[in-house]
């Protein structure tokens, strides 16, 4: 075992290397724009230079003169497309703003023309030669901009049904011995996956193949079919590898149907590779948020009153919001809770989910406030969390299916050396650097959605697993292969996995950290169907068939399965008895509590995600504790975070190697979010200014020194057959507050607005 491949503990799976490792280190892994096309035409987007107004007219003469230009599509001649509803409103789309439909412009960087040419170089030149006459109106950029309008989220966003509240907050806060009221802000952020938002479309007759990085191939397939007005069976989305996504590739963006329509019109494959800056406006982002937290506590640190008010920015037509109060009002024991989420509409592209959408901004606020409260109480911040730890969430009183929050704090504190912390702000230093230690809780809901799989087992053990899951760096290939190998008792190297193709049995979006839980549960169920058929063939008169079924359960190892079913399956004899060399089965799995229309919806590319706070009779979250050492240069005020430690409990860990990597990346993401990332908006024009990798800062290798990931074994029988909680979005949540809490410890200065930058440090 190495650092990269930690020893499995308890019920964890083996830390095997990635299934797709060789493909990825040799350049053979085929991402969307790597797919060769026969005689492709190249598309280049022209995007709007204003955020609000109309196009008065185009002058395309200059652009058309560029040799190699085939056609220039604007709202006047673009293929007509049907509208699609918003993803969070029963549709597929990331936005209801449909470009090339009219002369109207709803946001900066809206697609206003598509140049198609024989070469990329010609398309790009012609795109720059397109002249646009705008009738510009004054846009509202963000909070406080003239023309921005605010209203409660409840009632306008179908997924935000209730502002959680319980007890009598006002009275409890009024009577509390210790009170805190504080406001926090988080900035606009863009996912910036390494892979650009590429789309290639190729028609063969009436059949369309789309090569596009997608976190939801079945959603995209159905969404594009709907926009084109064709049968969904005519559309296939292929993406065996996705070059990072983080939420940005989960819902259908307008570009896909546009390119598909153009390819149909031209009767030629069309390849689009948008630029990095275009990615800022043709896809989604994490909207900026504002928060006010009020905490009332007794002198001994018991929370008596908690109020969380959040405000989020969205576009004019779409009431998108993340509404993280569902989590922050339930994290700690507190009898009197109030909350309110509002949406502020501005002239912006529609935001969307970005890694831990609700938890990142809302827990930054709450976990910063908890640290501030600990300071007021002169109490260790871990002790404050311990006092308010709870087995039941306070709003509906439902029990957490499992909750290892304090075990994580204890393990993390030990590994970090929290006991070495001298509590007084500014009391620790090392040469030129002031040193601060900070911590925060992290959590993420456990979510699942229906999924289907097909499994074929051959007598020689070769196994083929088909499921339209998504490899976005999450290790999907690997954990699916492991689930099948384990369940069927075949060697891992005999398993081939086919994912990333909408012709395969549907799986849900690779988002909401549901992917491993959903796909592995479905694969395990189908493997059990296969096993059951073999058992039945081998021992038709014994009860083993039923017993095989029984073992659908919780992260079983082959050994425990064999014990339960009395004896291991002798595969060769079973195939002999069956009189066949191959067994194949298909099955559809849905989690407990999934609605009746789940499977129907699944085939329509619409998922019915359950879990988190929406479970019946229980609430399911993964938890963790995160510790950060920050250093502030006493001369230059440069801020660095050389040490990150996270301890996490997320149910069964399918593969400690891929899990550790994802958690490590998450910790660094959180540090990045706290210290570096912010999309700057020109308030006058409502335009994104730093829309590139030189100016939108994400960490480079030199920013990361020491990252330690601790995975606590945790068994949770209630959540799903795989026993998996999901951890892709667990680690980048608490880090935001932990960094600022550490900055307070280093400098005595409280940073309530992210990102924390050197100009905010006054020492």
């Amino acid at each position: 075992m190495t650092t990269a491949a930690p020893e499995p503990k308890g019920n964890m799976g083996q830390p095997v290397p990635r299934y797709d490792a060789v493909a990825k280190v040799t350049g053979r892994a085929t991402y969307a724009s790597d797919t060769p096309l026969a005689n492709p035409a190249y598309a280049f987007l022209v995007t709007s230079a204003i955020a609000k107004g109309r196009i008065d007219g185009f002058d395309l003469a200059d652009a058309r003169r560029v040799r190699g230009v085939i056609e220039i599509f604007t709202h006047e001649n673009a293929p007509k497309l049907k509208e699609s509803k918003l993803f969070s409103n029963g549709g597929y789309a990331s936005t209801t703003i449909q470009p090339l439909k009219s002369a109207d412009i709803a946001h900066d960087g809206q697609i206003i023309a598509v140049v198609v040419a024989d070469s990329y170089e010609a398309a790009r030149e012609a795109a720059y030669r397109v002249k646009v006459n705008y009738a510009a109106a004054m846009p509202a950029a963000t909070f406080d901009s003239p023309g921005a309008t605010a209203a409660a989220a409840k009632g306008q966003n179908g997924q935000f049904k209730e502002d959680p509240r319980v007890g009598d907050f006002a009275r409890a806060f009024d009577e509390a011995e210790v009170k805190l009221t504080a406001a926090y802000e988080t900035p606009t952020q863009h996912h910036n996956p390494m892979e650009l938002f590429a789309t290639s479309c190729a028609w063969t007759g009436d059949d369309l193949v789309i090569y596009e990085p997608s976190q939801y191939v079945h959603g995209l397939k159905n969404g594009v079919a709907g926009q084109l007005g064709i049968d969904a069976d005519k559309v296939r989305v292929v993406n065996p590898y996705v070059g990072g996504a983080f939420g940005s590739k989960g819902s259908m963006t307008p570009r896909t149907a546009i390119i598909a329509g153009i390819a149909r019109r031209l009767n030629r494959p069309v390849k689009l590779v948008p630029t990095r800056d275009q990615g800022f406006t043709i896809a989604t982002y994490r909207a900026e948020t504002r928060h006010e937290i009020q905490l009332g506590a007794s002198r001994d640190g018991r929370l008596l009153a908690l109020r969380h008010e959040g405000m989020e920015v969205s576009s004019r037509p779409d009431p998108y919001c993340v509404g993280g109060t569902k989590t922050t009002t339930r994290l700690y024991a507190c009898a009197n809770v109030d909350s309110l989420v509002s949406i502020v509409r501005a002239d912006r592209n529609t935001p969307g989910f970005m890694r831990s959408p609700p938890e990142v901004p809302y827990l930054f606020a709450l976990e910063s406030a908890m640290d501030e409260l600990a300071v007021k109480l002169a109490m260790d911040p871990i002790e404050l969390r311990r006092i308010n730890d709870t087995a039941n969430e306070p709003i509906d009183g439902k029990p957490y299916t499992s909750r290892s929050l304090m075990a994580c704090f204890d393990a993390g504190a030990r590994a970090f050396g929290w006991s070495q912390r001298s509590p007084a702000p500014g009391s620790m230093s090392d040469g030129d650097w002031l040193v601060g230690y900070g911590c925060a809780a992290t959590c993420y809901p456990t979510q699942m959605a229906p999924a289907a799989a097909r499994v074929r087992l051959q007598r020689d053990g070769r196994t083929r697993v088909e499921i339209a899951g998504h490899e976005i760096g999450n290790g999907a290939y690997t954990v699916i292969a492991q689930a099948a190998a384990e369940r069927l008792g075949v060697p891992l190297e005999k398993v081939t996995v086919h994912i990333g193709d909408s012709d395969l049995p549907p799986a849900p979006v690779a988002g909401g950290s549901n992917s491993t839980a959903s796909t592995c549960s479905a694969v395990m169920m189908v493997c059990d169907k296969v096993r059951q058929r073999l058992f039945r063939a081998l021992l038709p008169n014994e009860g083993l068939a039923d017993r095989a079924k029984e073992t659908v359960g919780i992260g079983q190892t082959p050994a425990t399965q064999a014990a339960r079913s009395g004896q291991p399956l002798d595969r060769d004899k079973a195939f002999e008895a069956l009189g066949a060399d191959v067994v194949e089965d298909y099955g559809e799995w849905k989690p407990d509590g999934a609605p009746l229309d789940s499977f129907h919806a699944m085939h329509q590319g619409q998922m019915r995600m359950v879990g988190g706070d929406k479970m019946k009779g229980a609430i399911a979250y993964a938890f963790g504790a995160e510790f950060v050492e920050v250093r502030v240069n006493r001369f230059t005020h440069e801020i660095r975070a050389p040490r990150l430690v996270g301890a996490f409990a997320a149910g069964r860990i399918m593969n400690p190697r891929t899990a550790r990597s994802q958690l490590m990346g998450g910790l660094i993401w959180g540090m990045s979010s706290a210290l570096l990332e912010s999309t700057e908006i020109d308030a006058r024009t409502a335009r994104y200014v730093n829309d590139n990798f030189a100016d939108y800062l994400v960490p480079v290798n030199a920013d990361v020194t020491d990252v330690k990931v601790i995975m606590l074994p945790e068994q949770d029988h209630r959540i799903n057959p795989a026993g998996v909680k999901g951890l892709g979005e667990l680690a980048n949540v608490g880090t935001n507050a932990a960094v600022c809490n550490a900055l307070y410890h280093a400098t005595g200065q409280r940073i309530r607005k992210l990102p924390a930058r050197l100009e905010n440090i006054e020492i």
């Binding site: 190495t2 650092t3 990269a4 290397p17 990635r18 797709d20 490792a21 060789v22 990825k24 280190v25 040799t26 350049g27 053979r28 892994a29 991402y31 724009s33 790597d34 040799r67 040419a117 024989d118 070469s119 990329y120 170089e121 010609a122 030149e125 910036n192 996956p193 390494m194 892979e195 650009l196 590898y241 996705v242 070059g243 990072g244 996504a245 990095r276 490899e471 976005i472 760096g473 999450n474 190697r657 990597s661 490590m664 990346g665 660094i668 993401w669 990045s672 590139n692 990798f693 030189a694 994400v698 960490p699 480079v700 290798n701 030199a702 920013d703 990361v704 020194t705 020491d706 990252v707």
Partner: protein, 204 residues
């Protein structure tokens, strides 16, 4: 391929022409460049593509392409070598890193024309047949990637980092691997991979 010998005129490489036309992939080299009067520095018709020979992974590859084509786009769109990735197209991310000669460069800011006559090594040219290069194996062993999109660039950069003598300490590796952004943030594992592979690479 145009004959390079004796074709210079007044200090110019003979291949002087106007860029701007779209090129077709893998077209056999034909008359245009060869028929051009090599002694004349007159700029050519801007609509014509240019003939370029790139030496990639030890093979000469003849192309007729738009003169504006970068090495990255030449590899990806015209040579079927899609291992090198486009992440920013402006030298800001490192995903397109290749070796030209023994130096790592960003292929997105290198014109194919100016790479003529140079030895280009891409991720596809690193392994010896099915035997992985030590850096590739180290990336697997240390789980030095997640989504894998930046990985070819990271590996090419890492090989050069070692050969430059910049893998002597973890701090050096971190600094000299900072030209390659990994949004999944596999950085600590990348450092571990470079450390693992460095001795073997230095032994040769």
């Amino acid at each position: 391929m145009p004959d390079k010998s004796g074709s210079r005129h007044h200090g110019f490489d003979r291949r002087t022409f106007m860029a701007g036309a779209a090129g077709s992939a893998l077209a056999p080299l034909t008359a245009r460049a060869a028929a051009q009067d090599a002694r004349s520095p007159v700029v050519q018709d801007p609509v014509l593509p240019v003939d370029v020979t790139l030496r990639v992974n030890g093979e000469d590859r003849h192309l007729r392409i738009d003169a504006r084509t970068t090495v990255l786009d030449a590899l990806r769109e015209h040579l079927g070598l899609t291992g090198s990735k486009k992440g920013c197209d402006h030298g800001q991310c490192g995903a397109c890193t290749v070796l030209i000669g023994d130096r790592r460069v960003v292929s997105c800011l290198t014109l194919a024309l100016s790479a003529e006559g140079r030895e280009i090594t891409t991720i596809e040219g690193l392994a010896s047949g099915e035997r992985l290069h030590p850096m590739q194996q180290a990336f697997i062993d240390q789980d030095a990637f997640q989504c894998g999109y930046c990985t070819p660039g990271q590996i090419m950069s890492a090989v050069a980092c070692v050969k430059e003598g910049h893998a002597g300490s973890e701090a050096d590796i971190r600094e000299y691997m900072s030209g390659n952004i990994c949004r999944c943030a596999a950085y600590p594992n990348i450092v571990a991979a470079v450390k693992q592979a460095a001795p073997e690479i230095m032994r040769g």
